[in-house]
Subunit: 274 residues, 2 copies
């Protein structure tokens, strides 16, 4: 029996498995939804990845990731958009629910976060027609403010939804509890996103205390302080019915354990604390 | 000649100097404004600290810190408020511009950040009459969202100002560029704070890329990505005329250098990039 409502972002087991191995391990646990990363797709080839998705009737809750729009040089910004079009192609081939956008931070040497944010909105505006033509919804993922400089200058749901409203349909947000749990406006903005039909993905993990690394110390659900059930309730009340997607980067813990064990604990925690 | 507009938060040289030594070193550089921490005051005694402040005609731009209000046990919350009253006494004795409040994070075992935020507002409400009676303005310092769990569940200026408005006069905010630079609402909320006369302190340092530690890897002004001049301009346009206070926690760099060198670089950067 497939487990309803659970997806695994394959970054969670990226040190243990390639895409094909990860899918086998997920299927063995009853997990029939995944979200791969582009490098994982490239490693086995897009055609083979698409074949694996199709033959296992997998739901692909997102392709990670497009984005990284800001650059000082206009030619580099154009190259980033072109690369995002290839990501759209891949998402379309995999029948992904969305292409997740990690929008990028400040260009090198820049102190102007407002300009970076404008480059993001402009880049997404240029990408969107291609995404719509290919039937791939774009999901802006606001990242935690600790990544504002180097990964994503869109740091709150409110900001992401403001961009969505500027751009019209075909675009929404990925709500990741790790990035958004602290936000005083979270419930209000989840309701806003839901009312506009813009919740495209729901990522889960946990915030550990202490957090020892800015990038690679995410916790398994239940090991941290995030009110996972409360946020899930808000997201479901806002009308989202898709799976919760587990995405854990953990260089010192989960990436060092056997992949099957990690997946089995994901299932257990999904059933008990999410 | 004293340097106008520059204050040193003594955490910046806490590994090198005690309060008395730090003041001598600051005076030697022409720095006539400081912000000590309570443990630094306790180490030499409040009376001696007050004597040093008076005999050198120092401006004390803030006492760090009160706060840490949330706790599951009501008796512990009451004890925290009582300790904050002692911090008010110390701030009054030092003629500090304000008592800086780092409000506290989630109580141990809690997943309920909304409840923690209510405890904060309640704690400050109970402290405020005593602070006003003693002529000590309270400055809520919103901390970066990466500290929401364990240090401060007030994470944006907007949130801090909402609490201020609930509570009336005698309370404002400390605007620290490290905690707020990423905030899409920063300029708008600085203007709001200024219009209400609530900007009580302006802390500076820089955000390094990469940041290697969540707590102790703050950068010297000019070494990171923060638009220091832009934020200063917004704060001054909002009517704040007090000093900029340098507060750098840096276990691997600035805390390892000679204190005089650190202070001299603070002066140089203050004159060139702030």
């Amino acid at each position: 029996m497939p487990i309803e409502g659970l997806s695994i972002n394959l970054a969670t087991v990226r040190e243990q498995f390639d895409l094909a191995q990860a899918v086998d391990a997920c299927m063995a646990q009853g997990i029939h939804a995944i979200a791969p990363w582009r490098d994982q797709v490239a490693h086995i080839g897009l055609a083979e990845a698409a074949r694996i998705v199709e033959s296992n009737a997998l739901r692909v809750t997102g392709l990670c990731r497009g984005g990284m729009f800001p650059a000082c040089d206009p030619a580099r910004r154009e190259a980033a958009i072109e690369d995002n079009r290839r990501a759209v192609d891949e998402a379309a081939a995999l029948h992904a629910d969305c292409l997740v956008l990690v929008v990028g931070g400040l260009p090198e040497g820049s102190h102007d976060i407002r300009a970076a944010r404008e480059m993001v909105a402009e880049g997404i505006a240029k990408l969107l027609p291609y995404a719509k033509a290919n039937g791939v919804p774009l999901a802006i993922e606001p990242l935690h403010p600790m990544y504002a400089a180097d990964r994503a200058c869109v740091n709150t749901l409110e900001q992401a939804l403001d961009i969505c409203e500027l751009l019209g349909d075909g675009i929404g947000v990925a709500v990741d509890v790790y990035h958004t749990w602290w936000d005083p406006m979270l419930e209000q903005q989840i309701a806003r996103a839901g009312a506009a039909g813009r919740i495209l993905a729901h990522h889960i993990c946990d915030w550990l205390v202490p957090t020892r690394d800015l990038l690679f110390d995410r916790g398994m659900m239940g090991d941290g302080v995030i009110d996972l059930r409360g946020i899930r309730a808000a997201i479901e009340a806002a009308g989202y019915r898709g799976p919760q997607e587990v995405e854990i980067f953990s260089s010192q813990n989960w990436w060092k354990r056997p992949g099957d064990e990690v997946l089995s604990i994901c299932v257990e925690r999904f059933n008990t604390v999410c």
